[in-house]
């Protein structure tokens, strides 16, 4: 007999019972533990399956608080940069290798000299403000640097002229002067800006990209200031899922993914929907089969400029008229609607839009003595073209091909190009000056002394502009209708608001199937895998 005080003596039977009880308890605990583990594992797998787009969204680390790193005052932008480079010594170097700095990226051959050149925003023309040449202090207010005042900037610019704050400021009060060649505006508290730095925000990108072309929503069609805080109906990624630009436009050493109009294949530099959503994102085979032919954007961006108007037509030839600008806009619009001669040279689609001005609340016109007549539109159905994600580019000085409309950046691709898909575009059309004798587009000098916006003298503006751009000017100029293609990538709608079958197929569908090279509606005639259904010579649109 043995035992301790307070403990009943263990009989053999009791000991067996205790052991059994303990075994049962352990088993129960183990069972519950395994069950719990399974639930946790199952839960985590459900939340983050390999097909889950969220697995591709960068995980953001907590930003380093910079307040304590800066004291005193900063005289100017470069002095802030010098402070930044004290720690981030290679950052400016990285930036200066990017097209955000150089505004040039692709190799081409100068049509005038035959020499190789690098092309980009720095030297190309468009059909908005046409070109930065001669207009640097105004245009370079969106340059990621300080002091680009003339064509010699890159000969002398150093690392301290990189503007770190334009992307990394989070104080919300930093901004560049509108005409200051990229320098900060007066009154900006540079110390506060420097202390606030952190990850880029929508505002970092939007301050320039939402206002491309000189104002809110002017240029792109799918980017405007509603994208700072868009509702879900404007953009599902940024509205519903709260993504910021850099979640998709991933960055390494300041090289930012995403090129809108690359002139050649640019694998690895584009942002693709499939990066996150995969090649078969739908739960219906029929929809997934569309992915081979259609860009995701085609269905998921049914309209662009969802809330803010974007420019669809810019007629420089009407600039310079004196008087009430609203009255002039109404008069010119009325003339276009009523007088066939006023519509001469205008594409039919533009005429059709002008005819709806007054009855369609999503279309209106605007006049500026400096810039001419604009047609602005909201909630527009894109135009669709084959697009292999590269574009041709019109080079300054290049003689224009004959024809009514000069295309500045024709998208490459056609029905027979396996890399091409049908893509939604905003096509911006306009009338701009060209050299009547040599047949190339001209670059007007508009900003500053002697510029068109002060002197209102086209001859002078075109002559000084041509000199700045390094192109010839015969002294005779006319007006040429041009068009420029803007592939649509933002203002994405979820499946609830995307296109359905009848939006494209059947009677009244929005697709011009014959224009795209099909013999008819592919829902009934077969898609492009049945190549014999494509019409010879008409498939490369």
């Amino acid at each position: 007999m043995g035992g301790t005080v307070g403990s009943p003596p263990l009989s053999c039977g009791n000991a067996v019972m205790t052991v059994r009880t303990i075994t049962v308890l352990i088993s129960l605990v183990a069972f519950v533990g395994i069950l719990f583990g399974l639930v946790v594992v199952a839960g985590s797998t459900t939340d983050r399956s390999p097909n889950d787009p969220w697995t591709h969204v960068p995980v953001k680390l907590a930003p380093v608080e910079h307040t304590q790193f800066f004291e005193g005052t900063f005289e100017d932008g470069p002095s802030v940069t010098r402070a930044c480079l004290g720690c981030h010594e290679h950052a400016a170097e990285h930036v200066m290798r990017t097209s955000h700095w150089s505004w040039a990226g692709e190799d081409a051959v100068d049509p005038l000299s035959g020499e190789p050149i690098r092309i980009g925003k720095k030297n190309l023309q468009n059909n908005f403000c046409i070109s930065i040449a001669g207009n640097w202090p105004r245009c370079t207010s969106c340059h990621v640097g300080y002091g680009w005042r003339d064509g010699t900037f890159f000969e002398t610019a150093g690392p301290e002229q990189v503007d770190c704050l334009v992307c990394h400021d989070r104080s919300g009060q930093y901004q560049k002067a509108a005409t200051g060649a990229g320098h900060p505006a007066k009154g900006v508290d540079l110390l506060a800006a420097a202390r606030s730095v952190g990850r880029t925000t929508r505002a970092s990108c939007g301050t320039c990209h939402f206002k491309g072309g000189g104002g809110d929503g002017v240029k792109h069609g799918d980017l405007d200031e509603t994208m700072y805080f868009p509702p879900e109906r404007v953009d599902v990624h940024m509205g519903k899922h709260d993504l910021v630009c850099a979640d998709c436009h991933k960055t390494e050493d300041h090289r930012i993914l995403g090129r809108l109009l690359p002139p050649d294949r640019a694998e690895g530099t584009r942002v693709n929907c499939t990066d996150c959503h995969g090649e078969a994102p739908h739960d219906q085979d029929r929809l997934n089969s569309h992915v081979k032919t259609l860009a995701c954007q085609t269905c998921h961006i049914p309209t662009f400029a969802v809330e803010t108007g974007t420019k669809m037509w810019w007629d420089w030839s009407k600039a310079g008229l004196e008087g009430d600008e609203q009255g002039i806009a109404e008069r010119l619009t009325h003339e276009i609607q009523q007088d066939p001669s006023a519509r001469e040279g205008m594409p039919a689609g533009v005429v059709a839009m002008f005819e709806r001005v007054g009855s369609d609340p999503d279309l209106w016109t605007h006049y500026s003595k400096k810039k001419g007549l604009f047609l602005i539109a909201r909630r527009q159905v894109p135009e669709y073209r084959w697009y292999a994600c590269t574009t041709q580019r019109y080079l300054p000085g290049e003689a224009l091909a004959d024809g009514e409309v000069a295309v500045i950046n024709r998208p490459n691709g056609g029905a027979r190009d396996p890399n091409a898909k049908i893509w939604p575009f905003k096509i911006h059309r306009g009338r701009q000056p060209y050299d009547l004798r040599d047949g190339h587009l001209l670059t007007p000098h508009v900003f500053g002394a002697g510029g068109y916006w002060t002197a209102f003298d086209w001859d002078l503006a075109l002559r000084t502009g041509a000199e700045a751009a390094g192109i010839g000017f015969s002294g005779e100029f006319g007006w040429r209708t041009t068009e420029m293609y803007w592939p649509q990538n933002h203002m994405v709608q979820d499946k609830e608001y995307s296109l359905g079958c009848t939006d494209c197929h059947g009677r009244g569908g929005r697709m011009d199937w014959k224009g795209l090279g099909f013999t008819g509606d592919p829902a009934f005639q077969g898609d492009r895998r049945q190549m014999d259904l494509l019409r010879d010579g008409e498939s490369d649109r």
Partner: protein, 683 residues
């Protein structure tokens, strides 16, 4: 030498098949057409009405087409003697529109020899011709001769007489002046038929001009100030022909069908409803054939933002009416029915040549087995059903328990038409007359007055009822139930004519004082819409007395319930019923009471129409004055797991549970007993 019609037609169709896309469904190689009158002369020369039978008959066998078209016959070839068919009201004379009384239109074709004249054939054409393709009873007399040759004799005959709207008495109808309504090919085969102009001519009794008026939007004809039509010479080719483009010839589009059958909506304009009988199926069943998302409509629907489904998924997938409702001898679609095909043959490759088909295309179209059970009954079950195109088993077996049983006992529509978003007619009460001299109509799926933009439209869940199919199977499907209340009387008993109803209810433009005295509940001397109900003995007696006063013998109120099956308005899978407990629970959707009428006329009962293939197992009951039907699946031998209880199963279950417990207890006691015995033995 003139090419044979068959050759021309065959070539045209062959080329059309080769090059036309089903989407455009055009007839790009249709030759120019010379518009001819009934004599075969060019209308440009004679100025007479266009005869589609002669014009189209140049190449197509229009006589064959007219003989093989239910849209033409509408029951004309199925006439029977009143009272000769069991289950059918004794005042019906055919199962089709030409002879079957319907509460929605109310008016009735008079039987030859009947004293109480309501509609003559000419009246029937004027009233029903808006939804009739012409020909058949609008062109031929009972003996097969042309109506246009009929002349009135001494005797009152519905074929030669029509009701004088002024006197209410039958008067001779001048068929030579009105002409007859030919089968109107243009109505379905023009891209833009002028249906409104056609109906105007029919309503005006200018029957011969109906087909010509259908060309109103082609620019070929213009209406003159005197109501006649003139041909525009400049729109014709020099040789007097008309090009396909000018005429706008197409294969029938859904919109063509929608002219008579209901709202077919195309384009971006938001869907709107008229609730009128010009949108027949839409007003009756709430069905809309449109690819538009329901939430994008102009209707004030409840929870609208969440309704991101198309009105009909097939419309959204570019399926058009003629893809399912095909011509019976169309060689592209022709498929012999299982019941008549030899068992050794899965596919019969022999079929009409394209040329033969174009010459003699049957205009009897494949159809399902709708609940009305009367329309083109001989064509029941000829259409491909859901399961003929969809592999339902493959789609459902992943998640649906016992899919074969579900698919065997339920129509696909049961789950795929879970809700009707547009209002549909619930009751038509002809026992009362509104100030418009029509019935009081109530809709289901609405929270207020119909047509008021502020009224919220919650839509409704259809009732699930068993359908007895031709193949002997019973399958359950969604339905609307339309109740009709009407006075019947006279000898033999008939629905009381509108003329007699009006005489009983009105004095001039005002309600008769006796009626007002009986129905005016608030005593304001007027009858508001809500007061128009005979829900008490006193009210019913007052109106009955009025009817007797105007000569109706032994009037009584009768009620009918017309089931209307729902096969359109199909929802995509994401919006279909997917939760088991929707049906398999105590509050089962299958047994939810369905309102039949918002009030019940005193002393009246409503019974299911006798000529439907639908049964209503269950009970009807009134609650707060409203009449409801409650389905009881067990009444038709159906056991719904989760909802129904069977006593013997409960008993067996209880025995099993108790038996198991007792077994476990006995086993434990025995174990304990043996352990004690062993321990005792060891001690």
């Amino acid at each position: 030498m003139r090419p044979s019609p068959s050759l021309v037609a065959g070539l045209a169709l062959a080329l059309a098949f080769a090059f036309a896309s089903p989407a455009s469904a055009g007839s790009p190689l249709h030759p120019p057409v010379v518009l001819l009158d009934e004599e075969g002369a060019e209308v440009l020369e004679t100025g007479k009405p266009v005869s589609p039978m002669v014009t189209c008959g140049e190449c197509h066998d229009t006589d064959y087409i007219a003989e093989h078209s239910y849209h033409v016959a509408v029951g004309f070839d199925e006439r029977f003697e009143p009272g000769s068919v069991a289950g059918v009201p004794p005042w019906n004379t055919s199962p089709g529109t030409f002879g079957r009384w319907d509460a929605r239109r109310y008016r009735r074709l008079t039987v030859p020899g009947e004293a109480a004249f309501d509609l003559g054939v000419a009246d029937w054409i004027r009233l029903f011709g808006d939804r009739h393709a012409g020909g058949g009873p609008a062109f031929l007399a009972r003996d097969g001769g042309p109506l246009a040759d009929r002349r009135a004799g001494e005797a009152i005959d519905p074929e030669t007489h029509a009701l004088d709207p002024e006197t209410g008495e039958p008067v001779p109808w001048d068929w030579q002046a009105s002409g007859a309504v030919e089968m109107n090919c243009f109505l379905c085969h023009l891209g833009r038929p002028d249906n409104a102009a056609r109906i105007d001519e029919i309503r005006a009794g200018a029957f011969a001009w109906a087909a010509t008026a259908t060309l109103g939007k082609t620019g070929l004809v213009t209406r003159q100030g005197d109501g006649t039509w003139a041909y525009e010479r400049s729109a014709f080719a020099e040789d007097g022909s008309v090009t396909r483009e000018r005429l706008g010839i197409v294969d029938p589009r859904s919109r063509n069908c929608g002219q008579c059958h209901g709202l077919v909506h195309e384009g971006a304009e938001p869907v709107t409803l008229t609730y009128g009988l010009n949108q027949w199926e839409t007003a009756s069943k709430g069905q809309v054939f449109s690819a538009q998302l329901v939430r994008d409509s102009a209707l004030n629907l409840a929870n609208k933002e969440g309704l991101s489904l198309p009105w009909d998924v097939h419309a959204a997938r570019l399926v058009v009416c003629t893809d399912c409702h095909t011509s019976l001898n169309n060689p592209v679609f022709f498929s012999e029915a299982e019941r008549s095909r030899p068992s050794h043959l899965s596919y019969d490759a022999r079929r009409p040549s394209i040329g033969d088909y174009l010459t003699k295309p049957s205009h009897n179209f494949t159809k399902g087995e709708s609940a009305q059970g009367t329309t083109a009954r001989r064509l029941d079950g000829t259409m491909r059903r859901c399961e003929d195109c969809h592999d339902a088993l493959q789609v459902h077996e992943e998640w649906l328990p016992n899919p074969r049983r579900h698919l065997r006992t339920m129509l696909c529509e049961t789950c795929h038409v879970p809700r009707v978003h547009a209002p549909a007619r619930q009751q038509t009460d002809w026992t009362v007359l509104t100030t418009m001299r029509g019935p009081r109509i109530e809709y289901r799926g609405t929270d207020g007055p119909i047509g008021d933009p502020a009224t919220l439209l919650p839509g409704f869940e259809p009732v699930i009822l068993p359908r007895h199919q031709k193949n002997g199977r019973i399958r359950h499907g969604p339905h609307n139930l339309c109740t009709c209340w009407s006075w019947v009387g006279g000898e033999p008993e008939r629905p009381v004519r509108t003329r007699e109803l009006e005489a009983a209810w009105f004095v001039g433009d005002a309600y008769h004082p006796d009626v007002v005295a009986a129905l005016d509940e608030d005593g304001d001397g007027r009858l508001a819409r809500e007061e128009l109900r005979l829900d008490t003995e006193a009210k019913a007696a007052a109106v009955k007395a009025r009817l007797e006063a105007v000569g109706v013998k032994a009037p009584r109120i009768a009620g009918w319930i017309q089931p209307l099956s729902l096969h359109h308005g199909v929802a995509p899978g994401a919006f279909a019923t997917r939760r088991c407990e929707t049906c398999h629970a105590r509050e089962s959707r299958l047994t939810r009471p369905f309102e039949l009428s918002s009030y019940v006329p005193a002393g009246a009962t409503a019974k299911l129409v006798g000529d439907s293939n639908i049964r209503m197992p269950g009970r009807t009951f009134t609650s707060e004055g409203r009449l409801f039907y409650e389905p009881v699946p067990t009444a038709s031998g159906r056991y719904v797991i989760g909802h129904d209880r069977a006593g013997w199963i409960d008993l067996v279950g209880a025995f099993l549970v108790i038996g198991t417990l007792l077994g476990v207890l006995a086993h434990a006691l025995l174990r304990r007993h043996h352990t004690r015995r062993r321990e005792g033995a060891q001690a």
